[in-house]
Amino acid sequence: MTLARRLLAVGRAAGRRTEAGGVRFVALFLATLVLGIGLASLVAVHAVYAGKDERRVARTPVSAPDRAAGQREADATAWLELTDSLDDERPFSVVYVSPLRGDAPLPPGLERWPEPGEAVLSPELRRAGAGEDIDHRYGRLAGTIGAEGLDEPSEWLAYVRPRDGLSPDRAAGNTSAVAEVVTGFGPSAAGRMVSGWEPGWGGRNDKSAWMFQSVVLGLLVLPAVVLLVVAARTGAHTRDRRTALVAALGGRRLDRALIAVGEAGPAAALGAVISAAAVGAALLHDLRVPHTDYLLSASHLRAYGWTAAVLAPLAAFLIVLATVVLADLAPRRGASGTRPRGTSRSAWLPRLAVLCPLSILLAVYGPGLVSPPVLPTLTSWASTVGTVLTLPAALATVTALAGNLLTRRARARGLPGTLIAGRRSSTHPGATARLVAGVSGALIVLMQAVAWQGIFGSQATEARQLSVRMDRGVASVGVRGTVSASAVAGFLARVPEAEAVLLTTRGGGPEDRHVTTLYGDCAALTALRLPCPARETRVAGFPEKSSLADLFRWTSYGNGALRIRRAGTAALTERAASASADRDRETSTLALVRPDGRPLSVPALKRLSHEVFPLGAGVGAPGEGDVTVGAVNRDQGRWSALFGTIGIAVLALTAGLSAMAEFLRQGRALAPMSVLTGGLRVFRTSAAWAVLAPLALAGTAGTAVAAAIAAPITSSDASHITGGLILSAAGVVLAVGVLLWAWASRVAVRQARAWRPSGD
């Protein structure tokens, strides 16, 4: 034990006093930290999915054992789940509930029954919808839904108790709004759980857990492992010498392992402790994840608290120690020789470099030149892989050529730092290639991931494009439940700035469904740029120039014929009321249009609809439903961007640290020169070329190439690859480069100042 402690202490002392200004300490610390958080994130993803499932099951409505007798059943709740959304945001559930009689079961998360006309909202919905005054959209606010009633803290959900109550009978005429009879919630309640009635969109929107896990694995854990491998070999020159010496003194493998552990231990322990503390903080409080605006549930995580906060950091700690031990003990090639082997300049690097522009050209233009559907994808993938493999070689070759130019310039002008850097870049292109490979590869993979994420929601993308150019002066209003003509009239009276028309489609045979009838007075028809015929007129479809053309297309009335029938407000409201009473016979949608073309406020209309109609109305700009579904994809894409940016930062750090360690090792050789010349500027210049230049090149060229070859995948202009993403990806790499450059210069200068001539 004593020996073990002593050897650990030897390692610790070696770690403290070793060269390269604590680069290895920082690298190992960061590797453990990111690895610990990465592993904990894997646990957290599992914990959140499991926790959400549990909560969803617990709030799944249970159907009355005898549903036919539902209404007469004691202790029952009427339950109607509908959908709403905030402007350009993901859809969420609005559940209309009402106690039917007796001790009606309250949905989980509600402490008491809201009064008629009151609503209870989830905290995050209130926060996100504050701009639309969501608190008052469905009635008076009676409180917030407790955590146990939400599948996770981020969930948007509303429970609304309609002013006039809710009964299955009352809504019976309305096929789109039939209230169910619920006798309990979750597995503990007697009866049959009906998963279709379950509130919330999470179950429908969430990607599979394994997809999320792969994002964490690929963009967080993998970069951490790469950083670890580089960190383990940082300053290897000194350590290899020590390992050999200890072996020569009779140190066994275990002894050498203990020294290696002693050296890496403090850095790894610090990283593990801080990652444990970070995870611990997430166990205590719900944690808002930056960029995604996601609130990580502390209570979901707590179910796996030990695994996330203790085992994951501990595993990271052990993995780091195992890696440094293996890296130290692994036999080195050429270690048995007594003379160092010369390194031959690689001949394949320039050859690979030539293939790079070809790969890029193929990736950008190739998919458009071959016949769909399979070949463009194959071409895109093959050329992307080609670019990932050849871009580092191209960057290295460019740097080597630049190195030659630098050398010439430095010789001509007498710039020592530039001369050293120029010579180095031109003689070691392989080192530059290794340096930039991780960063440029990661940039390409990230952009590809974001681009593919984008095309999965291409329908939504089209919808959003449409909604951007769409006439915001038009809104569709789908009244829910059965309403009276006076209610419809009351509603319209409170939107005096807009003209109204009613679109109806008759139920029945398929032929009927192809004919849409439009009711409206002349003012409204004129505002819609439609003719105002005295008698019912049949036209082939909406004139393209009409504001309602998009609505006509998007409200899925089909592309059939249109009948225009002039109708005054009274006739129109009567028609709307009768359609609401029997939806099997006829479906109807009100369309509001502002003659002055100014936008209608959808949130205000939604609120008004709840004031006037018992269950409100589905209000939206035409096609908005598809846009909100697309918002889910967009929100999920933020996770890829977040993890991708972190991953790129870690890889840039990895590349930079390894460049810095190599630079500092060479800096020792430079130290005597500074004594001779008295100048320290040489370190700043050569550090800039050794550390900053390759990273800056990898960041800028890598991002440009990555964005360019991802562009054909998202040929529509609503690509998820935004300017912000491009700037932040390149910016992160540049920032890391500048930071490491400053650090490397400082350490090199300090190293040079401390240098004294000595025997070795």
Partner: protein
């Protein structure tokens, strides 16, 4: 030879037989043999690249020769498992390198103690003995061995080589980096060791002045050892 240790001194501590090894196309040793007894010192000289350091690496077991046997205190180290080899090195072999090769981060005392601990010596005994050896060799206290002069480092390396009372002491150009005066003192110290400790000393040097202080001086040439003085044959 001096018989301060009685019959101990006759025991062979190193027996090399039929050693053959090449580096690339260059044949370094051809059927090389050498016997070294306790209490005896042998110097091996040779031109640069003749294989002197490689010979020491073979004796340490760092390099596995193509053929032949290298017995250290009777145990053939060629093909010995790494654990047993490490144990044998720690217990029976001491080594002084050209530049001392101390761990720069450790104090001179810790450098010496470490070698004893690797041989599983009791901590207190190791410390006492290390202090005594460093005192005897005149090495001053220092926080790190980087603060020492070249001669002090080399003496620390000698102390480290002696701490485990090895049967075989190896030295690779032990005075190569030293000035004349320090060189002479270090050489005196080294060659006096087999007389004071029961060990055999094998020194590799290109310095004839150092080599002639040994009981036997051999020259490594064309892969074989030949005597350069009137000493006993290899």
């Amino acid at each position: 030879m001096a018989t301060a240790h009685g019959t101990e001194s006759l025991r062979p501590v190193l027996e090399i037989e039929g050693l053959t090894h090449s580096l690339g196309a260059r044949e370094l040793f051809t059927d090389l043999s050498l016997t070294l007894r306790a209490g005896e010192s042998v110097a091996v000289t040779g031109s640069s690249g003749s294989g002197k350091s490689t010979l020491l690496s073979c004796v340490l077991g760092l390099i596995k020769p193509a053929a032949g046997s290298v017995k250290v205190t009777g145990t053939d180290i060629v093909g010995l498992r790494s654990g047993r080899l490490a144990e044998l090195r720690a217990r029976s072999v001491g080594m002084v390198f050209q530049f001392g090769e101390l761990l720069p981060e450790l104090s001179p005392l810790d450098n010496v103690v470490l070698a004893a601990l690797l041989a599983r010596t009791d901590r207190h005994r190791a410390r006492e003995r290390a202090q005594a050896l460093l005192g005897e060799l005149g090495v001053p206290d220092a926080a790190t061995s980087e603060e020492l002069s070249g001669g002090e480092r080399q003496r620390t390396a000698v102390a480290r080589a002696l701490i485990n009372e090895p049967a075989l002491l190896l030295a690779d150009e032990p005075t190569g980096a030293l000035d004349t005066e320090t060189r002479d003192r270090t050489a005196e110290l080294l060659f006096d060791l087999p007389r004071r400790h029961p060990c055999g000393l094998l020194v590799v040097t290109h310095d004839p002045g150092i080599a002639e202080r040994a009981d036997r001086a051999l020259r490594l040439e064309a892969g074989a050892l030949t005597p350069v003085s009137s000493g006993a044959s290899a």
